[in-house]
């Protein structure tokens, strides 16, 4: 099976499993992003048809929510908290360090496809500021050195 048809199958499976829930669109979008890492633009008409919505409505929902993305993410997605508590503990410096270290800005992916960088407005880890999230893992009281260690660990792990 080609990659495109696998993707189409995945999208269809998610839609079939969830389309009868009340307010099914967000659960479907989550299902697709969980499976593929993003919501491919060619899945929009398929979702729209299944839910009897216009493509514009589906696109509008995808673009409204910061979490949903329509491009593939890097191997690891790094979320850096920009909110007040983290700022009070030096996250602005950490932010600069992270961007310099990776050589990218927010909403970008490194050229080797290893890391995507996103801002986040609170991880609820405010008692351990500054906080970041990498994939599903949370890190608290993150210093520049500590960030570098995490990154080199991820780079060396297969």
């Amino acid at each position: 099976m080609t990659e495109a048809s696998t993707t189409a199958h995945t999208v269809q499976d998610v839609i079939t499993a969830l389309k009868d829930k009340p307010g099914a669109l967000l659960p479907i979008l989550h299902g697709i992003q969980d499976a593929l890492g993003y919501i491919p633009s060619d899945s929009v008409p398929v979702i729209a048809k299944a839910l009897n919505l216009s493509r514009a409505e589906v696109h509008g929902v995808i673009s409204f929510y910061h979490y949903f993305r329509d491009t593939p993410p890097g191997k690891h997605t790094i979320h850096v908290c920009r909110a007040e508590s983290c700022q009070a503990m030096g996250s602005s410096e950490l932010e600069i360090h992270v961007k310099n270290k990776l050589g990218i800005d927010y909403h970008e992916t490194t050229t080797d496809g290893q890391f995507s960088l996103e801002p986040v407005y609170c991880l609820g880890n405010c008692a351990c500021s500054p906080a970041i999230q990498i994939d599903k893992d949370f890190y608290g009281r993150v210093s520049n050195t500590c960030f570098d260690e995490i990154i080199s660990e991820l780079e060396t792990s297969v």
Binding site: G23, L26, Y65, E84, M89, Y121, C122, G140
Partner: protein, 521 residues
């Protein structure tokens, strides 16, 4: 007899290495041939001590912390499993002053039990509230909640009993209970702690709400940034479904209540109740006009109770011990307890549940221990990103909804973020405008456009451009946002901006302003 050791599974503890500590303890125990029962409890909420490991002894649980993986070997050498002495030993957990001085009602079990063990929940007074509720009339349940004086803990402080009463008296085939678990306010994490550390109490509270108002379906709208809470809630729901505490016939009462967790997708505005319901319906999270009130026409057009996690999690103890018991805590019209969250630049960050009435200063210094950096605390933002910044001169304000309103501040969801003297308040004011611009749903003009104009204006002000013109313009813009926005996002962004300007004018490049005159924008 095997020894019970507790290592928290709370996501903040995990962010400091709790999983690695738990693994190291299990390995060491195995190597030394010791039989231990390793329990992953919730966090006690003393985050400067995390990872805090506890050991059950005859005298009570003894704490050690903060434990790193490198400490584990020496802990075993010191016979910590029998309460042995060690440099990290903290003594009996319950005797730690930070914990002992608290009044934990909503958080009674948090950090004590295994979050997803139903037997543990039942052994610690769980489901006593529901058992009582099942033997009461709907009106009596609502009355108990009204009598307790409980007000919405999400931040708006609307009396919970009045909301329930409206939904109870609105006739409909289908009604809903929606839990607002979109805890987007920076500096707050009490919802997260309840959901990760005691998910059953939220489920019980929602079930009681459903029975009280005649709703058979509940949704927990959870922010996607809380994957640990998602896992814990789903695991807990599965357990209570199997045990008959949810479903079509709750404990043989013939009453039905079903519960599902739905994930948000990173939009702060979805913490606003009408935007949240739009999102649950699968739409963009645009704020709705009110009226109609959600209690009359809410989710899918049906009568809906929308309550915050802490409000709903406070219901079981009210139904267990009575409205009067809860009401006896607190001051003035702020009854019961508020779980406060100490965050930012404080030595002892964490969760402090107390009756209303303590002063902010006592909270910051007696509990928080002053700033983490050791420098003087310059400003404190209370109540999330839309809350006012308080200067030192206001630290003696009691923690009470009305006392905060009187100084043009909000208690909100109980988040307290401290900043030391290095903070530039103009930067914080600019950030507030930026945040509003990023998170605005775009429905109303003051918020959609005003936030961007405000961000640009702050840029000019910080460059020192035409201050005599731009400062009044900023005030005028804030006045428009304050009075012309559809919801609290645009309507309250002026709180942090103007409080920063009024209390710290020097950071904006101007002299003292008369803050009493300018408070009202």
């Amino acid at each position: 007899m095997s020894i019970t050791i507790y290592v928290p599974c709370d996501s903040s503890a995990v962010s400091l290495g709790a999983d690695r500590v738990a693994k190291a303890i299990a390995q060491q125990a195995e190597q030394r041939g010791l039989a231990i029962n390793l329990v992953r409890n919730g966090s006690r909420g003393m985050y400067w001590l995390e990872t805090m490991v506890e050991v059950a002894t005859d005298a009570g649980r003894i704490a050690y912390g903060p434990v790193q993986t490198s400490d584990v070997g020496s802990l075993f050498d010191a016979d910590f499993i029998n309460g042995g002495n060690h440099p990290l030993a903290l003594g009996l957990t319950e005797e730690l002053p930070y914990l002992k001085k608290q009044q934990r009602l909503t958080f009674a079990r948090v950090g004590i039990t295994n979050p997803i063990c139903l037997d543990d929940y039942l052994a610690h007074d769980g489901y006593r509230g529901l058992t009582n509720a099942l033997n009461m009339s709907q009106a009596d349940i609502v009355k108990a909640v009204t009598d307790s004086g409980l007000r919405g803990r999400g931040g708006a402080a609307f009396p919970t009993g009045i909301k329930w009463n409206t939904v109870m008296n609105t006739h409909s085939e289908q009604k809903y209970i929606v839990c607002n678990a979109d805890e987007g306010d920076s500096g707050t994490f009490s919802d997260r702690m309840v959901m990760e550390s005691d998910p059953f109490v939220l489920i019980e509270g929602m079930t009681i709400a459903g029975i009280a108002v005649g709703a058979t379906q509940g949704y927990i709208y959870l922010r996607v940034e809380y994957p640990h809470a998602h896992k814990a809630l789903n695991a807990a729901i599965e357990k209570v479904n199997a045990a008959g505490y949810l479903g079509d016939n709750i404990q043989g009462s013939g009453k039905a209540f079903h519960l599902e967790v739905r994930l948000g997708a990173g939009a702060y505005v979805c913490g606003e109740e009408t935007s949240l319901m739009e999102s649950l319906e699968g739409k963009r999270g645009l704020v709705r006009f009110k009226p109609p009130l959600p209690a009359i026409k809410g989710l899918f057009g049906q009568p809906t109770v929308v309550n915050n996690v802490i409000s709903l999690a406070s219901v079981p103890i009210i139904l267990d011990k009575g409205g009067d018991f809860y009401r006896d805590f607190g001051m003035g019209r702020s009854r019961g307890t508020l779980p406060l969250q100490l965050a930012g630049n404080l030595k002892h960050t964490g969760l402090v549940e107390l009756a209303f009435g303590l002063t902010l200063r006592e909270l910051l210094y007696d509990f928080g221990g002053g700033s983490a950096t050791g420098k003087p605390i310059k400003a404190v933002q209370v109540g999330g990103p839309l809350g006012a910044y308080l200067p030192e001169s206001q630290f003696d304000t009691p923690l009470d909804y009305e006392a905060f309103a009187a100084i043009w501040a909000v208690l909100g969801h109980g988040g307290v973020v401290a900043f030391d003297e290095t903070v530039d308040m103009a930067v914080m004011a600019k950030y507030s405008m930026e945040f509003c611009a990023i998170e605005s749903c775009g429905k109303c003009t003051p918020c959609r456009i005003g936030s961007t104009r405000g961000y640009e204006l702050m840029d000019d002000i910080m460059q020192g451009r035409e201050l005599d013109k731009n400062i009044p313009l900023l005030r005028s813009l804030c006045d428009t946002l304050l009075n012309g926005s559809l919801c609290a996002l645009g309507g309250m962004t002026p709180y942090p901006v103007l409080s920063a300007l009024n209390h710290f004018p020097e950071d904006f490049g101007i002299g003292q302003t008369n803050s009493t005159e300018t408070n009202a924008a």
